[in-house]
Symmetry: C2
């Protein structure tokens, strides 16, 4: 299947041969490379192929790892006509994409996502970046890939926990953009309809990005659950919940805030809870220090001085709310403390 | 005077008041800040104004200095609606512009260039970046400013040597794009017609960039003298010639190569020499090691595996030449050894 809504093709299905006239630098991580690097290299036809393996994990999505990738690109003397290819999850594609964005002011870059989260979300839309001491993805660039190859076969080796974390990003899109998809996710078990479920999720994201690449408004909906979720990840120093799990908790926090503000009715909130429940995406979480947590919320990159929240108004629609009084947010946080 | 060829206004004349609804972070360097920071701050009307002073000099256009600027931006908690403002020469605007490009995936950025080189060249066109161990501007982004304020009064305190180095970039544009401007530069002493000379140079660059922002072909002409020039700077570890001086030497090397290849006649080459002479831009330079120098040439970011050269074909036109046999380049280098 080919999704062509954006300026680059998104292929869904068994990985096709990948041909380049120039050089290719494959960037992968220490978990994915042993499983799939050789398989990918067999598919690549290029003048020269190099590879660079980064340590796996969100905690390594930082400047030091970025510099390692850039070093390999310089050692391979890639030109602007050559290509960087990310093989892995969102950490790999975000980081390799950012390296591609700033190497010689930008070279082309392609993605072979190997996690569900990367296949349905991170690989689409051109956001790239790294984390730093101030938070997640705070250093980065918009650098759309030239092509994305989504092969669900990679998911056969994905740990169940990571698979489920990826579903959180599918539910996110259903809640904010597409009631039909929400119903579909409630009706069809994903493990039996995986390729279609992925394709629907990719199609929604591609449409959103096509309408609002630079996140003026519509694309903000993709941040549902992320303002809270990023703060959770940062508070846990990226070593507790997986990203998708933190987003799942973040969606429930956002729902609670939306209900408190009278934007969302409790029935819809319960329906979202029920869908999260189906995929084991409801977690016990305690905010260790709500004042400190609020401070982290204010640092999120979509914010002015106060946090802005994407809040669902019903299943299939959302609003972006600024200027929520601090005490309202604190009251919601208290129920998690 | 207002030049509006690009998507952002370029003001030429006495610095006007600068108004922002959000915050502004001024980035300057240790030479310019003591002279002009207070003067600039008086002109800025914004919700909050911060400043960050970097050490002056090309040798500091690196990752460590960049991280300092980003740190200040995070400490000020700039949002995407706020602004980074560069006050200084090309090093400051390249580095602050790159910080603006990658901070939260890009915030707006304005330039008040204070050197002739920055006024006529570096501040126009959206190229930003830093140097690294592999060479000059090899890490960077295209990130056009929102506005450029060119006030020739800043040049009153500019050391003569730096002023002359800036003229090299004016001559560069005359040779590659505009025979009339070349004649103008030969006829009118710049010190008596400075604002007009700057405006003409800015207008040429803006037209070139408007036609070819991403450097597909025409904009390549702006790299005349730069492939050799960058190699000279790198070989000198950025502590010998000023950038414009290295470009002046680089133009002469390019001319010699162009003459050797039969692209340029010696009369035109001599006319260019004569104009460089008027502004004391002919230098004694010896390539210390021509093999090592050739290797540096091959690393320049516009290159594939062989260096590409912008060579003038007559005054007012150029060609981009690839695939020049190594021995031809070596022969030219020998005359500088």
């Amino acid at each position: 299947m080919l999704i062509n809504t954006l300026n680059y093709p998104i292929y869904i299905g068994a990985l096709p041969p990948i041909t380049h006239t120039g050089k290719v630098l494959v960037v992968s991580d220490s978990v994915v490379a042993p499983l799939y690097l050789d398989k990918l290299l067999e598919k690549i036809n290029a003048s020269q192929v190099f590879s660079h393996v980064i340590p796996a994990g969100e905690v390594h999505k930082n400047q030091a790892t970025l510099e390692g990738v850039l070093e390999s690109a310089f050692e391979a003397n890639l030109s602007r006509a050559d290509c960087m290819l990310a093989l892995g999850g969102g950490v790999v594609s975000d980081l390799a994409g950012f390296a591609g964005a700033i190497y010689k002011r930008g070279i082309s870059f392609e993605i072979v996502p190997t996690t569900l989260l990367a296949q349905v979300d991170a690989s689409i839309g051109g956001k790239t970046g790294i984390n730093n001491a101030y938070g997640k993805n705070l250093i980065g660039a918009f650098h759309p890939p030239k092509a994305v190859y989504i092969d669900p076969n990679f998911l056969q080796t994905l740990p169940t926990r990571e698979f489920k974390a990826g579903i959180a990003e599918m539910i996110k899109k259903a809640v904010c953009f597409d009631r039909d998809y929400f119903e579909w996710l409630r009706t069809y078990p994903l493990d039996q309809h995986l390729e279609l479920g992925i394709a629907k999720s990719v199609a929604i994201k591609a449409q959103v990005v096509a309408q609002d690449e630079k996140e003026a408004h519509l694309r903000m909906g993709l941040n549902y659950g992320h303002t809270f979720g990023h703060a959770i990840e940062k508070e846990q120093n990226y070593q507790g919940f997986l990203h998708g799990e933190a987003v799942a908790v973040g969606m429930q926090m956002a729902n609670a805030l939306a209900v408190k503000l009278g934007l969302l009715d409790t029935h819809a909130s319960e329906q979202i809870d029920a869908l999260l429940e189906i995929y084991d995406l409801r977690f016990d979480y305690q905010v260790p220090n709500i004042e400190a947590f609020y401070k982290i919320l204010c640092m999120d990159k979509k914010n002015m001085d106060r946090p802005r929240f994407v809040l669902p108004t019903r299943i299939g629609d959302f609003r972006l709310i600024e200027d929520i009084p601090q005490n309202m947010v604190m009251e919601v946080l208290k129920t998690w403390s």
